[in-house]
Symmetry: C2
Subunit: 493 residues, 2 copies
């Protein structure tokens, strides 16, 4: 794998100076165009063995480029805010917006590689993580990111020579620590693990570039030139973006039986029973949210359903049982400017709860496969790939100990009409009815169809969809509260 | 101070239900209008003695209002990311955007009050903090925030009765902890300190409302009604905002001697000397940034100056000496949508470095008193009050151990013209010249005037302005690097 990086590349000073001048002018120009277009971000991963010149080449890029639009994203030990969220949270959080370049000094590869060398994770676990990384990178690329991954290589003897050379110069001696020398002892392990990691993550959409780190000038020019060419190519593609994968559309069954049409919509709960049962589940929920085991977990709830399905009312029956310091209700509407400059799921990642906290999404990341699909707000290829991306996202949450539940509140067309009319009668509910609501109502079958596809493709054992017949508000509210309680009881043992 | 909250208020159930219905409808309507106007945020501080019903009243507000646009901002022990920034960072970070309501359960008052009761800070220190709080709240109000501060009061006997009552009900018993009872022993201390704090922070622009906490129904209605009235009043004021303070304009001296015109603009540094000196200061800077004492500090640099004054070049000479993982260059241009929905300084607070890090602002928070003033992008009253707000901001930084330096790079009109023309010759610099630059050039005297005012009013011992004659780039770059080094040497001892 690393052979072609061991053939002994070198660039003389004169060539370097000549090349550097041209490269610098073009890099600045490309960076300016990147900023002007503001259509995509650039993600630069600079990884490799100790002493192979990662910091030096990054510093060289700062010399060549406009530092105002280049950001180094360094990751040391996770902060406590990071430790309380899924593994990928700190990387999502750091993603540069459209028009900017983020240089990752340390990345989502660092921890898996280090832990595998230390023997802390099995080969199987490593491969599972690499699979997740591949899908994460596919998502980034599909979202438009220009992702470049460099691995700076040194031979075993090259590494020792390089460290001695750095040590001998007072300006660079500080870069060589006791740990650097210790890590030379695991050179073979690193080569073996890195070789494996690079092979498995050398995908068509995000290939690795292996660079000989021995000669400073060669390395700088090689990284700078590759960056420039990739940037120029992407900038020239005014339309269209590369697409890593596209999920095929599902063939729908011929009859009209589906998970929604099969529901018994006549289920009701009389007022007296409702009050008793609601009080019971609320009491239990209140206890569970204060359970000492919940302090090491967190809860994410997503509510979807047609307009007036009773999402707000169901949510309010849950929050009434929770400490206001422990929950957050997140309304999901059109994304902000900052959110639009990041991958689709970014705005949901940024709302993830810390340990011991509850986040309730009133509408959610499923907007992409519901309203955006039906109203044509995104391309077919985008909502098609969203199913897999959403499954990956929820999988990350569950792996990190987040308890995830998703509710679809189902009502009939007649019931919706009745509620729209009744809302128009009540002063403080009138504002809830907008022209959008009447318009969406006109697309009832398309929305139902999209909901069925969504449930079919994203209801998983660890993050299930709970379809609730909601023509009777009492019945729906109790069903929601009971489901949350039962799940918490199971999870908290 | 608390007498009127001890006269024994109570509301019977029937009255409560009648009032509640009206209040709820109106609160929802006001909240909807708040969101539709999206002109200002609502900040609700709910403080008071233990057992006075803070959480209960907050929970009641959640029952009445739309939870999607109400956010509880709770502050337990600071996270490590918070501990590495100035005291107020966590509160800035939590500020709700325009159109939303943030309920502070715990606020900037909590720590000073608790530490004073524990005897950890002196009366003088407390008063200094209160003074800072008053200015912070004035800033919020001037930025348009509707700020409501509630103090829920109980008599000593009332507190004990209340805790016993909570304990006797299994649904609320968990709210009473050992700490709650321990704090009853310091009832007198709390009354004394809180009385003092409330008196000193009971300002015209952010007065306290003291509420008898004994009776749940009375307390809920009182807080809800005050919130409603204040909201309705602000929503009705379509134009204009309340203004806490307005600094008077400075009379300018009659002659044209000022800190800029008095500069010796002929200072130069020949190439050879420049290279030697630059290398010397860069080497020293590199060492200091790795100094073990710097790991407990951080550095904020702000660069201002006319277009083409050489800000970027000076910054690049500094970053060349720094580890790319340790610095960030922040370009300051027009604020984003999210930034515009927060107080002016919010976008600078969110960029503050962690310990051991350097943040370099290429243009800065001084935009308000430079470009925004000269181009009329904000009202006179807004840029006038900005001087004091900026001084407060920098004071917060310095108090937290941040080292702050501000550079004004001064060039002459002729030199600027020469640089504009020369930039147009060099391909990779051509993009640097825009029509804005030519327009700004037409307002040279106004900009110089604004710069002189700025330096006069915001150059402080702890966050000084360094005015650098920058007609000669070599001279300016070395002066900047030397100044940073000298300051770091002094600060790190």
């Amino acid at each position: 794998m690393f052979e072609s990086a061991e053939v002994g590349h070198a660039v003389d000073k004169e060539t370097f100076q000549k090349e550097e001048e041209k490269l610098r002018a073009k890099l600045l120009e490309a960076q300016r165009a990147l900023r002007a277009q503001a259509r995509f971000p650039v993600l630069l991963l600079i990884s490799g063995v100790d002493g192979a010149g990662k910091s030096e080449t990054l510093a060289q890029l700062y010399e060549w480029m406009d530092a105002r639009y280049l950001t180094t994203l360094a990751f040391a030990a996770p902060t406590d805010e990071e430790r309380e969220r899924p593994y990928m949270w700190r990387y999502w959080r750091a993603l540069p917006p459209h028009g900017r370049t983020g240089a990752f000094a340390g990345s989502w590869y660092s921890t898996p590689i280090a832990r595998r060398i230390e023997g802390k994770i099995s080969r199987g676990k490593l491969d599972k993580r690499l699979d997740e990384i591949n899908r994460f990178e596919a998502m980034l690329v599909n979202e438009g990111a220009l992702l470049l991954k460099f691995w700076l290589h040194l031979t075993r003897e090259g590494q020792r020579r390089r460290l001695r050379q750095l040590e001998s110069d007072p300006r660079t001696a500080w870069r060589v620590t006791k740990e650097s020398w210790e890590r030379t002892r695991t050179y073979d392990d690193l080569q073996r693990v890195a070789g494996h990691v690079l092979r498995l993550t050398n995908t068509a959409w995000a290939p690795w570039s292996i660079v000989d780190g021995t000669d400073d000038r060669y390395r700088h020019l090689r990284v700078g030139t590759e960056l420039l060419l990739a940037l120029e190519e992407r900038l020239a593609q005014k339309h269209g973006r590369p697409h890593a994968t596209t999920a095929p559309p599902v063939p729908r069954p011929a009859d009209d039986r589906n998970v929604l049409s099969a529901l018994d919509m006549d289920q009701r709960l009389p007022e007296k029973k409702y009050e008793l049962q609601l009080a019971k589940w609320q009491g239990r929920l209140s206890e569970l949210a204060r359970h000492k085991r919940f302090a090491r977990r967190s809860l994410v709830l997503a509510f979807e359903g047609m307009d007036a399905a009773g999402k707000g009312g169901s949510i309010r029956r849950l929050t009434a049982a929770l400490d206001p310091r422990r929950f957050q209700v997140v309304p999901v509407a059109a994304p902000s400017e900052e959110e639009r400059a990041h991958p689709y799921l970014w705005r949901f990642w940024r709302q993830l709860p810390r340990l011991g906290q509850v986040t309730i999404f009133d509408r959610s990341w499923y907007g992409r496969v519901l309203v955006e699909r039906v109203e044509g707000l995104c391309k077919e290829e985008d909502w098609l790939r969203a199913y897999a991306e959403i499954n990956d996202f929820e999988n990350e949450l569950v792996t990190a100990g987040v308890i995830v539940l998703k509710f679809w509140l189902q009502i009939t067309e007649d019931e919706q009409l009745r509620r729209f009319k009744s809302r128009e009668q009540v002063e403080h509910k009138r504002f809830k009815i907008t022209s959008d609501d009447w318009r969406n109502r006109g697309k009832w079958p398309q929305y139902q169809n999209a909901a069925v596809d969504m449930i079919d493709r994203t209801s998983t054992g660890h993050a299930p969809w709970i379809v609730v017949p909601a023509n009777d508000k009492n019945f729906a509210r109790v069903a929601v509260a009971r489901t949350v309680v039962k799940r918490l009881e199971k999870e908290l043992g």
